[in-house]
Protein backbone atom coordinates (compact mmCIF):
# COMPACT_ATOMS: atom_id res chain seq x y z
CA UNK A 1 0.00 0.00 0.00
CA UNK A 2 1.63 3.23 -1.15
CA UNK A 3 -1.03 5.60 0.07
CA UNK A 4 -0.40 8.39 2.51
CA UNK A 5 -2.20 6.31 5.14
CA UNK A 6 -1.08 2.85 6.15
CA UNK A 7 -3.33 -0.16 6.63
CA UNK A 8 -2.90 0.26 10.37
CA UNK A 9 -4.16 3.82 10.13
CA UNK A 10 -7.26 2.58 8.29
CA UNK A 11 -7.74 -0.20 10.86
CA UNK A 12 -7.80 2.43 13.61
CA UNK A 13 -9.99 4.79 11.61
CA UNK A 14 -12.84 2.28 11.08
CA UNK A 15 -13.46 2.09 14.83
CA UNK A 16 -12.94 5.76 15.55
CA UNK A 17 -9.53 5.29 17.09
CA UNK A 18 -8.01 7.64 14.52
CA UNK A 19 -9.97 10.77 13.82
CA UNK A 20 -8.52 12.73 10.99
CA UNK A 21 -10.67 14.66 8.48
CA UNK A 22 -8.03 14.22 5.80
CA UNK A 23 -8.69 10.48 5.75
CA UNK A 24 -12.26 11.08 4.58
CA UNK A 25 -11.00 13.11 1.68
CA UNK A 26 -8.39 10.46 0.89
CA UNK A 27 -11.01 7.72 0.83
CA UNK A 28 -12.99 9.61 -1.76
CA UNK A 29 -9.96 9.48 -4.03
CA UNK A 30 -8.43 6.09 -3.19
CA UNK A 31 -10.30 2.95 -4.26
CA UNK A 32 -7.84 0.61 -2.53
CA UNK A 33 -8.40 2.23 0.83
CA UNK A 34 -12.16 2.23 0.31
CA UNK A 35 -12.08 -1.53 -0.27
CA UNK A 36 -9.97 -1.99 2.85
CA UNK A 37 -12.40 0.08 4.90
CA UNK A 38 -15.34 -2.02 3.69
CA UNK A 39 -13.58 -5.30 4.45
CA UNK A 40 -12.53 -4.11 7.90
CA UNK A 41 -16.04 -2.94 8.73
CA UNK A 42 -17.39 -6.34 7.74
CA UNK A 43 -14.88 -8.29 9.82
CA UNK A 44 -15.36 -5.94 12.77
CA UNK A 45 -19.10 -6.48 12.56
CA UNK A 46 -18.54 -10.24 12.76
CA UNK A 47 -16.13 -9.79 15.66
CA UNK A 48 -18.61 -7.71 17.60
CA UNK A 49 -21.21 -10.42 17.02
CA UNK A 50 -19.42 -12.29 19.80
CA UNK A 51 -20.77 -9.70 22.22
CA UNK A 52 -24.16 -11.37 22.00
CA UNK A 53 -22.83 -14.55 23.47
CA UNK A 54 -23.63 -15.30 27.09
CA UNK A 55 -22.09 -17.71 29.53
CA UNK A 56 -24.09 -20.78 30.55
CA UNK A 57 -25.53 -20.73 34.04
CA UNK A 58 -24.15 -24.19 34.79
CA UNK A 59 -20.59 -23.10 34.11
CA UNK A 60 -21.01 -20.05 36.33
CA UNK A 61 -22.55 -22.09 39.14
CA UNK A 62 -19.69 -24.56 39.06
CA UNK A 63 -17.08 -21.84 39.38
CA UNK A 64 -18.99 -20.11 42.15
CA UNK A 65 -19.28 -23.36 44.05
CA UNK A 66 -15.56 -24.10 43.78
CA UNK A 67 -14.65 -20.61 44.94
CA UNK A 68 -17.00 -20.63 47.92
CA UNK A 69 -15.78 -24.02 49.12
CA UNK A 70 -12.24 -22.73 49.23
CA UNK A 71 -13.21 -19.35 50.69
CA UNK A 72 -15.20 -21.02 53.48
CA UNK A 73 -12.20 -23.17 54.28
CA UNK A 74 -10.01 -20.10 54.64
CA UNK A 75 -12.52 -18.15 56.69
CA UNK A 76 -13.06 -20.98 59.17
CA UNK A 77 -9.79 -20.03 60.76
CA UNK A 78 -9.85 -17.33 63.45
CA UNK A 79 -9.16 -13.74 62.40
CA UNK A 80 -5.90 -13.61 64.31
CA UNK A 81 -4.99 -16.95 62.85
CA UNK A 82 -5.56 -15.56 59.36
CA UNK A 83 -3.39 -12.55 60.16
CA UNK A 84 -0.62 -14.77 61.40
CA UNK A 85 -1.00 -16.94 58.36
CA UNK A 86 -0.87 -13.94 56.04
CA UNK A 87 2.19 -12.56 57.83
CA UNK A 88 3.91 -15.92 57.88
CA UNK A 89 3.29 -16.70 54.25
CA UNK A 90 3.99 -13.09 53.30
CA UNK A 91 0.83 -13.03 51.26
CA UNK A 92 2.27 -15.58 48.90
CA UNK A 93 0.65 -18.71 47.65
CA UNK A 94 1.49 -21.51 50.00
CA UNK A 95 3.27 -23.45 47.34
CA UNK A 96 5.63 -20.62 46.52
CA UNK A 97 6.17 -19.83 50.20
CA UNK A 98 6.97 -23.46 50.98
CA UNK A 99 9.35 -23.62 48.06
CA UNK A 100 11.08 -20.47 49.27
CA UNK A 101 11.43 -21.79 52.81
CA UNK A 102 12.70 -25.10 51.51
CA UNK A 103 15.27 -23.35 49.33
CA UNK A 104 16.46 -21.20 52.22
CA UNK A 105 16.82 -24.26 54.45
CA UNK A 106 18.69 -26.15 51.74
CA UNK A 107 21.07 -23.24 51.21
CA UNK A 108 21.66 -22.93 54.93
CA UNK A 109 22.44 -26.63 55.23
CA UNK A 110 24.72 -26.43 52.24
CA UNK A 111 26.66 -23.53 53.68
CA UNK A 112 26.90 -25.22 57.05
CA UNK A 113 28.18 -28.46 55.57
CA UNK A 114 30.65 -26.61 53.43
CA UNK A 115 32.12 -24.69 56.32
CA UNK A 116 35.63 -25.81 57.39
CA UNK A 117 35.59 -28.26 60.25
CA UNK A 118 37.08 -27.02 63.48
CA UNK A 119 40.10 -28.64 65.02
CA UNK A 120 39.00 -31.04 67.68
CA UNK A 121 40.28 -30.41 71.16
CA UNK A 122 43.10 -32.72 72.21
CA UNK A 123 42.81 -31.78 75.84
CA UNK A 124 39.49 -33.44 76.51
CA UNK A 125 40.68 -36.79 75.31
CA UNK A 126 44.42 -37.01 75.01
CA UNK A 127 45.50 -39.32 72.26
CA UNK A 128 48.31 -41.77 72.69
CA UNK A 129 51.70 -40.35 71.84
CA UNK A 130 52.56 -40.64 68.22
CA UNK A 131 55.81 -41.67 66.68
CA UNK A 132 57.17 -38.48 65.24
CA UNK A 133 58.25 -38.43 61.65
CA UNK A 134 59.80 -35.07 61.17
CA UNK A 135 59.26 -33.39 57.85
CA UNK A 136 61.97 -31.92 55.76
CA UNK A 137 61.49 -28.52 54.41
CA UNK A 138 59.69 -28.75 51.07
CA UNK A 139 58.19 -32.12 51.66
CA UNK A 140 54.55 -32.40 50.55
CA UNK A 141 54.02 -35.83 51.97
CA UNK A 142 51.76 -36.15 54.92
CA UNK A 143 52.45 -39.25 56.86
CA UNK A 144 50.13 -40.85 59.28
CA UNK A 145 51.96 -41.37 62.51
CA UNK A 146 49.72 -43.61 64.57
CA UNK A 147 46.63 -45.75 64.37
CA UNK A 148 43.27 -44.05 64.72
CA UNK A 149 41.42 -44.72 67.95
CA UNK A 150 37.67 -44.44 68.31
CA UNK A 151 36.51 -41.01 69.37
CA UNK A 152 34.93 -40.76 72.77
CA UNK A 153 31.31 -39.74 73.11
CA UNK A 154 30.85 -36.16 72.16
CA UNK A 155 34.01 -35.90 70.18
CA UNK A 156 32.40 -36.43 66.79
CA UNK A 157 33.00 -33.87 64.10
CA UNK A 158 30.35 -31.22 64.17
CA UNK A 159 27.10 -32.43 62.77
CA UNK A 160 28.52 -35.50 61.20
CA UNK A 161 28.25 -39.09 62.24
CA UNK A 162 30.97 -40.01 64.62
CA UNK A 163 33.44 -42.64 63.63
CA UNK A 164 32.26 -46.04 64.44
CA UNK A 165 35.39 -47.15 66.18
CA UNK A 166 37.09 -48.47 63.13
CA UNK A 167 40.77 -47.76 63.14
CA UNK A 168 42.41 -46.94 59.88
CA UNK A 169 46.05 -47.28 59.31
CA UNK A 170 47.61 -45.66 56.36
CA UNK A 171 51.01 -46.75 55.28
CA UNK A 172 53.05 -43.93 53.89
CA UNK A 173 53.35 -44.23 50.16
CA UNK A 174 56.92 -43.05 50.19
CA UNK A 175 59.42 -44.04 52.79
CA UNK A 176 61.18 -40.89 53.70
CA UNK A 177 64.63 -41.38 55.17
CA UNK A 178 65.27 -39.35 58.19
CA UNK A 179 67.96 -36.82 57.41
CA UNK A 180 67.79 -35.45 60.86
CA UNK A 181 66.41 -32.15 61.88
CA UNK A 182 67.73 -29.11 60.12
CA UNK A 183 69.79 -26.89 62.39
CA UNK A 184 67.83 -24.18 64.14
CA UNK A 185 64.56 -25.40 62.73
CA UNK A 186 61.83 -26.53 65.11
CA UNK A 187 60.58 -30.05 64.55
CA UNK A 188 57.06 -30.22 63.25
CA UNK A 189 54.72 -33.12 63.73
CA UNK A 190 51.82 -33.74 61.40
CA UNK A 191 49.06 -35.95 62.57
CA UNK A 192 46.48 -37.19 60.14
CA UNK A 193 43.15 -38.53 61.31
CA UNK A 194 40.96 -40.58 58.99
CA UNK A 195 37.30 -41.14 59.69
CA UNK A 196 34.60 -43.37 58.26
CA UNK A 197 33.74 -40.63 55.84
CA UNK A 198 36.41 -40.56 53.14
CA UNK A 199 35.68 -36.88 52.54
CA UNK A 200 36.66 -35.96 56.09
CA UNK A 201 40.34 -35.99 57.01
CA UNK A 202 41.71 -34.11 60.00
CA UNK A 203 45.27 -32.82 60.05
CA UNK A 204 47.09 -31.66 63.20
CA UNK A 205 50.24 -29.68 62.89
CA UNK A 206 52.21 -29.69 66.11
CA UNK A 207 55.65 -28.21 66.59
CA UNK A 208 58.25 -28.74 69.28
CA UNK A 209 56.84 -26.06 71.46
CA UNK A 210 53.52 -27.87 71.55
CA UNK A 211 51.71 -25.12 69.61
Amino acid sequence: MTCKYSEQDIALYVEGDLIEPAIEAHLLACGTCRVLVDELRESQSLLKGLRQETVSGAALAEVRSRVLVEVRGVSSRTPWGRRVERWFWLGLRRGYALAGVGLAVAMGVGLWLGAPTPKPSVESDPLPPAAAVPLRKGDNVLVETRPIVPLAKGDGVRGLPRTQGVAHTEVPKQAVPDPGPAPDEPKQLVVKLLTDDPNIVIYWLVDQTGG
Binding site: E15, L47, E53, S56, S75, G91
Partner: protein
Protein backbone atom coordinates in the same frame (compact mmCIF):
# COMPACT_ATOMS: atom_id res chain seq x y z
CA UNK B 1 -23.88 -4.32 25.71
CA UNK B 2 -20.87 -6.08 27.15
CA UNK B 3 -19.52 -3.35 29.37
CA UNK B 4 -21.25 -2.68 32.65
CA UNK B 5 -21.93 1.09 32.89
CA UNK B 6 -20.35 2.56 36.00
CA UNK B 7 -23.48 3.70 37.85
CA UNK B 8 -22.79 5.43 41.10
CA UNK B 9 -25.41 3.43 42.98
CA UNK B 10 -24.08 0.09 41.81
CA UNK B 11 -20.55 1.14 42.72
CA UNK B 12 -21.67 2.15 46.19
CA UNK B 13 -23.37 -1.21 46.68
CA UNK B 14 -20.24 -3.03 45.58
CA UNK B 15 -18.15 -0.92 47.97
CA UNK B 16 -20.43 -1.90 50.86
CA UNK B 17 -20.25 -5.57 49.92
CA UNK B 18 -16.49 -5.44 49.66
CA UNK B 19 -16.24 -3.86 53.09
CA UNK B 20 -18.35 -6.65 54.57
CA UNK B 21 -16.36 -9.29 52.70
CA UNK B 22 -13.08 -7.95 54.09
CA UNK B 23 -14.62 -8.19 57.57
CA UNK B 24 -15.27 -11.89 56.93
CA UNK B 25 -18.82 -11.91 55.59
CA UNK B 26 -18.74 -14.71 53.02
CA UNK B 27 -22.27 -14.07 51.85
CA UNK B 28 -21.20 -10.54 50.90
CA UNK B 29 -18.32 -11.94 48.86
CA UNK B 30 -20.73 -14.38 47.24
CA UNK B 31 -22.81 -11.43 46.12
CA UNK B 32 -19.68 -9.80 44.69
CA UNK B 33 -19.01 -12.98 42.74
CA UNK B 34 -22.57 -12.97 41.47
CA UNK B 35 -22.17 -9.43 40.14
CA UNK B 36 -18.97 -10.04 38.22
CA UNK B 37 -18.76 -13.76 37.46
CA UNK B 38 -20.34 -13.47 34.03
CA UNK B 39 -18.00 -10.69 33.04
CA UNK B 40 -14.94 -12.55 34.29
CA UNK B 41 -15.92 -15.90 32.74
CA UNK B 42 -16.78 -14.39 29.38
CA UNK B 43 -13.53 -12.45 29.21
CA UNK B 44 -11.56 -15.53 30.27
CA UNK B 45 -13.21 -17.63 27.59
CA UNK B 46 -12.49 -15.04 24.91
CA UNK B 47 -8.86 -14.95 25.97
CA UNK B 48 -8.30 -18.66 26.51
CA UNK B 49 -10.77 -20.36 24.18
CA UNK B 50 -11.88 -23.39 26.22
CA UNK B 51 -14.50 -23.94 28.90
CA UNK B 52 -12.10 -25.74 31.19
CA UNK B 53 -9.47 -23.02 31.05
CA UNK B 54 -12.04 -20.26 31.43
CA UNK B 55 -13.47 -21.89 34.55
CA UNK B 56 -10.03 -22.46 36.04
CA UNK B 57 -9.09 -18.87 35.31
CA UNK B 58 -12.32 -17.47 36.77
CA UNK B 59 -11.88 -19.55 39.90
CA UNK B 60 -8.32 -18.29 40.31
CA UNK B 61 -9.43 -14.69 39.73
CA UNK B 62 -12.02 -14.77 42.51
CA UNK B 63 -9.74 -16.59 44.91
CA UNK B 64 -7.02 -14.00 44.34
CA UNK B 65 -9.59 -11.25 44.74
CA UNK B 66 -10.63 -12.70 48.09
CA UNK B 67 -7.04 -13.14 49.22
CA UNK B 68 -6.03 -9.56 48.32
CA UNK B 69 -9.31 -7.85 49.09
CA UNK B 70 -7.77 -6.18 52.13
CA UNK B 71 -5.25 -4.47 49.80
CA UNK B 72 -7.88 -3.12 47.41
CA UNK B 73 -8.33 0.64 47.59
CA UNK B 74 -12.05 1.10 48.18
CA UNK B 75 -11.82 4.57 46.67
CA UNK B 76 -11.21 3.06 43.24
CA UNK B 77 -13.49 1.12 40.95
CA UNK B 78 -13.54 -2.61 41.57
CA UNK B 79 -14.33 -3.73 38.03
CA UNK B 80 -11.11 -2.54 36.32
CA UNK B 81 -9.11 -4.14 39.14
CA UNK B 82 -10.92 -7.41 38.56
CA UNK B 83 -10.54 -7.18 34.77
CA UNK B 84 -6.82 -6.56 35.09
CA UNK B 85 -6.53 -9.56 37.38
CA UNK B 86 -8.46 -11.65 34.86
CA UNK B 87 -6.14 -10.67 32.04
CA UNK B 88 -3.07 -11.49 34.15
CA UNK B 89 -4.46 -14.84 35.26
CA UNK B 90 -5.40 -15.74 31.70
CA UNK B 91 -1.95 -14.76 30.49
CA UNK B 92 -0.29 -16.92 33.14
CA UNK B 93 -2.63 -19.83 32.49
CA UNK B 94 -2.25 -19.53 28.75
CA UNK B 95 1.53 -19.61 28.98
CA UNK B 96 1.48 -22.51 31.40
CA UNK B 97 -0.75 -24.55 29.19
CA UNK B 98 0.71 -23.10 25.99
CA UNK B 99 -2.36 -23.59 24.02
CA UNK B 100 -5.12 -21.73 22.35
CA UNK B 101 -6.96 -24.21 20.22
CA UNK B 102 -6.59 -23.53 16.56
CA UNK B 103 -9.53 -25.76 16.01
CA UNK B 104 -13.22 -25.06 16.22
CA UNK B 105 -13.66 -23.63 19.63
CA UNK B 106 -16.30 -24.75 22.05
CA UNK B 107 -19.71 -23.29 21.55
CA UNK B 108 -21.46 -24.85 24.53
CA UNK B 109 -20.11 -22.34 27.04
CA UNK B 110 -21.28 -19.34 25.14
CA UNK B 111 -24.79 -19.39 23.79
CA UNK B 112 -26.21 -16.92 21.34
CA UNK B 113 -29.14 -14.92 22.52
CA UNK B 114 -30.79 -14.05 19.23
CA UNK B 115 -33.12 -15.31 16.51
CA UNK B 116 -32.96 -19.15 16.57
CA UNK B 117 -33.72 -19.34 12.86
CA UNK B 118 -30.62 -17.55 11.86
CA UNK B 119 -28.52 -19.19 14.53
CA UNK B 120 -26.85 -21.71 12.24
CA UNK B 121 -25.23 -19.15 9.97
CA UNK B 122 -24.44 -16.95 12.93
CA UNK B 123 -22.83 -19.88 14.74
CA UNK B 124 -20.65 -20.63 11.75
CA UNK B 125 -19.63 -17.03 11.59
CA UNK B 126 -18.83 -16.98 15.28
CA UNK B 127 -16.71 -20.11 14.83
CA UNK B 128 -14.76 -18.31 12.13
CA UNK B 129 -14.20 -15.29 14.30
CA UNK B 130 -13.18 -17.41 17.30
CA UNK B 131 -10.72 -19.25 15.13
CA UNK B 132 -9.35 -15.95 13.84
CA UNK B 133 -8.99 -14.73 17.42
CA UNK B 134 -7.23 -17.94 18.33
CA UNK B 135 -4.60 -17.33 15.68
CA UNK B 136 -3.56 -14.03 17.22
CA UNK B 137 -0.59 -13.69 19.55
CA UNK B 138 -1.60 -13.39 23.20
CA UNK B 139 -0.99 -9.63 23.54
CA UNK B 140 -2.80 -8.69 20.34
CA UNK B 141 -5.72 -10.91 21.27
CA UNK B 142 -5.98 -9.34 24.72
CA UNK B 143 -5.84 -5.82 23.28
CA UNK B 144 -8.53 -6.38 20.63
CA UNK B 145 -10.81 -8.32 23.00
CA UNK B 146 -10.65 -5.59 25.63
CA UNK B 147 -11.16 -2.82 23.07
CA UNK B 148 -13.66 -4.26 20.60
CA UNK B 149 -15.56 -6.78 22.72
CA UNK B 150 -15.32 -5.46 26.25
CA UNK B 151 -15.64 -1.83 25.16
CA UNK B 152 -12.73 -0.28 27.02
CA UNK B 153 -11.07 2.77 25.54
CA UNK B 154 -7.50 2.48 24.28
CA UNK B 155 -6.31 4.39 27.36
CA UNK B 156 -8.16 1.98 29.66
CA UNK B 157 -6.80 -1.01 27.75
CA UNK B 158 -3.29 0.40 28.14
CA UNK B 159 -3.86 0.68 31.89
CA UNK B 160 -5.16 -2.88 32.15
CA UNK B 161 -2.34 -4.34 30.10
CA UNK B 162 0.35 -2.18 31.63
CA UNK B 163 1.41 -0.88 28.22
CA UNK B 164 1.59 2.52 26.58
CA UNK B 165 -1.37 3.73 24.57
CA UNK B 166 0.81 3.82 21.45
CA UNK B 167 1.65 0.16 21.88
CA UNK B 168 -2.00 -0.74 22.45
CA UNK B 169 -3.11 1.15 19.34
CA UNK B 170 -0.51 -0.68 17.30
CA UNK B 171 -1.58 -4.04 18.71
CA UNK B 172 -5.25 -3.32 18.09
CA UNK B 173 -4.76 -2.21 14.50
CA UNK B 174 -2.56 -5.20 13.66
CA UNK B 175 -5.06 -7.55 15.32
CA UNK B 176 -7.97 -6.13 13.34
CA UNK B 177 -6.06 -6.54 10.07
CA UNK B 178 -5.15 -10.12 10.93
CA UNK B 179 -8.74 -10.97 11.84
CA UNK B 180 -9.92 -9.52 8.54
CA UNK B 181 -7.39 -11.58 6.59
CA UNK B 182 -8.18 -14.74 8.54
CA UNK B 183 -11.92 -14.45 7.99
CA UNK B 184 -11.41 -13.71 4.31
CA UNK B 185 -9.26 -16.83 4.04
CA UNK B 186 -11.86 -18.99 5.77
CA UNK B 187 -14.82 -17.85 3.66
Amino acid sequence: MSRIPPEAEAEAEVAVLLGRAVAGDISAFEQVIGRFERRVMTLAFRLLGTTEDAQDAAQEVFLRAYRYLHRFDSGRLFEPWLVRMTVNVCRDLGRKRQRYPNVILEADLLRASGDPHSELNSEEQRQMVRRALGELPEKERAAVVLRDLEGFSTAEVAGILGSSETTVRSQISIARLKIKKAIKRMI
